[in-house]
Symmetry: C2
Subunit: 378 residues, 2 copies
Amino acid sequence: MRPNPFTLLATDPLSKARRGRLVTARGIIETPIFMPVGTQATVKCCAPEELRALGAQIILGNTYHLFVRPGMDVIRHFGGLHRFMSWNGPILTDSGGFQVFSLARLRRVTEEGVHFQNHVDGTPMFLGPREAMEIQAALGSDIAMLFDECPPFPCAYDDAAASLERTLRWAARCREVETPGLKFGIVQGSSYPDLRRHSAEALVQLGFDGYAVGGVSVGEPEPEMMAAVEHAEPFLPAEKPRYAMGLGTPPQMVEMIARGIDMFDCVLPTRLARNGTAFTRAGTIALKNAGFAKDERPIEEGCACPACRTFSRGYLRHLVKAEEILGLRAITEHNLHFYLNLMAGARAHLDAGTFAEFRREFVGGYRPRETSAAVEET
Amino acid sequence: MRPNPFTLLATDPLSKARRGRLVTARGIIETPIFMPVGTQATVKCCAPEELRALGAQIILGNTYHLFVRPGMDVIRHFGGLHRFMSWNGPILTDSGGFQVFSLARLRRVTEEGVHFQNHVDGTPMFLGPREAMEIQAALGSDIAMLFDECPPFPCAYDDAAASLERTLRWAARCREVETPGLKFGIVQGSSYPDLRRHSAEALVQLGFDGYAVGGVSVGEPEPEMMAAVEHAEPFLPAEKPRYAMGLGTPPQMVEMIARGIDMFDCVLPTRLARNGTAFTRAGTIALKNAGFAKDERPIEEGCACPACRTFSRGYLRHLVKAEEILGLRAITEHNLHFYLNLMAGARAHLDAGTFAEFRREFVGGYRPRETSAAVEET
């Protein structure tokens, strides 16, 4: 293994929350951090310079989607994902495991990997641990995720255990493939505490630069999601970063930070924007509602994002109703700002030793709506 | 009438091309000028500050669309269109005549105006000369267009003549309604030279701040379009601005400038972008084509637009194929830059006395594709 790229800067005395710093070849990432999702080589609606202006420190790319389209031949021609999409900051790439199991058709899982037909044009394709890591190397990923099997929820114990064992065998193979950046293991084990513990311990035994909790945000109730993290976390080394994959709502992220998680990604801010839903500290608002037609206020008073500095709720409502892209852009930008700013707030309060108040005030003030936690990029 | 807001700065000795300056309450417009189309209170995909950065001097708004949605109650509440959409530069508003005749359903035309059902939810509505001007006044339009009937192509002589007479009676009524900005008449008369002349002379007799040629770009062949302008132009006063409505391709605009036109609007740059089509000096390119997959060049070498400074054709092709909004945004921005920059070139060459060479080189180098001239905002 390479030297540990993560530094634990501070720990909250009243929770498991941590303030850290992760060094990658393309930049330093201050944690806790939210990573905007750029599935198809673009964070939906956003130009790279807008992401930089919003303070995004790292974004996500997706092995499955890029493997399917434009294909690795094109990405290799452009010298990797960073140059292809004109983003020179760090990129974490998902391994494609989750998408192969959620998006692709006619799957056949073998010990070597997964045969499937892609969701775009049905072309037969194959992804296994070696292929997933080689693709992430070709993408130029700064943080590559291991290729794993992500069982559905609910999942019988024996199925979850068998799947986990295969994922652990795949983990050992993934470890052997050289990639230019960091490599994170993924804890699976469905909703079974002993499997979560076993998964974490086995991965730590192999040794990776960081550890993710996977198989969450797949339709399970929120307590199950929290439990999955709680059952894995004690067996993860304090000196390595922890990443909860594919979640969540703003209060869920704050609660996950309190449970020792450092990194997050979620499609909620970009996906809900496309539906006209904007995040505020009091909860989400649906800008389609007639009540906003003459509302001259910004989405959130005091918000420093470009949308709130420029547009009223009434105008945004008009854009959403008229299906104008500018509305979608503005709400996306606001929502990403909200998520990134929430993490900046968490970091500042961890630095100041006031995380407990921050957590109490934010989670107490946020009124959850129907926005499910079970949203992951498709 | 108010004092003439237009100054004719120079005239090309080898054509009818003119270099002019139009003063409005919200800014000075250097002509020839292209006006990006902002039908529904937004130039599709573009934020106001992007339009300013692209050098847009004036944009269009649309009475019909805004009357239907969000409705004048909302626009009045926000104090007009400028504040509603956060654009503080000049806005020209179309009167809604064209859209009532092309978009609305179940039309019934009377001497007072047009009863119709709107295209969004079928609500019965009415627009006449008085209503159209009052709406434009409430929008805060800097240049209001008269309410006119726009006959289809082809149109029998008697029908065109009868329609024109009604449009002229409506013009007299429109003239009586007070609006805060300038007021432009619209020359109709279909493809009949004597009707075009009669229309121009009658409007000039009434007296307006500028004159548009309407009823073009409605499906007629390009020679008919040019002829419509040629038949009206000699009867329009040199000291007033002339506007050819709803066109056209880049070489058509240059040819129209040579025929004495000062102002243009067209949805081609924004609409073709949505199809992945980008303008270059050699003609349009369809970025969907497989040949661009590994093309590392920008849309156009040497182009100073944000898209060409940031993205390759290969990346834009990927975005278009993956239906990602960033692709649409980037091509829209490039296309608008192309149109605005073409007008800036025409102005510079008119200033330098080299318009004839500019016209010859540009029109000679541009290879027309299947992009029809007959495209107007719907």
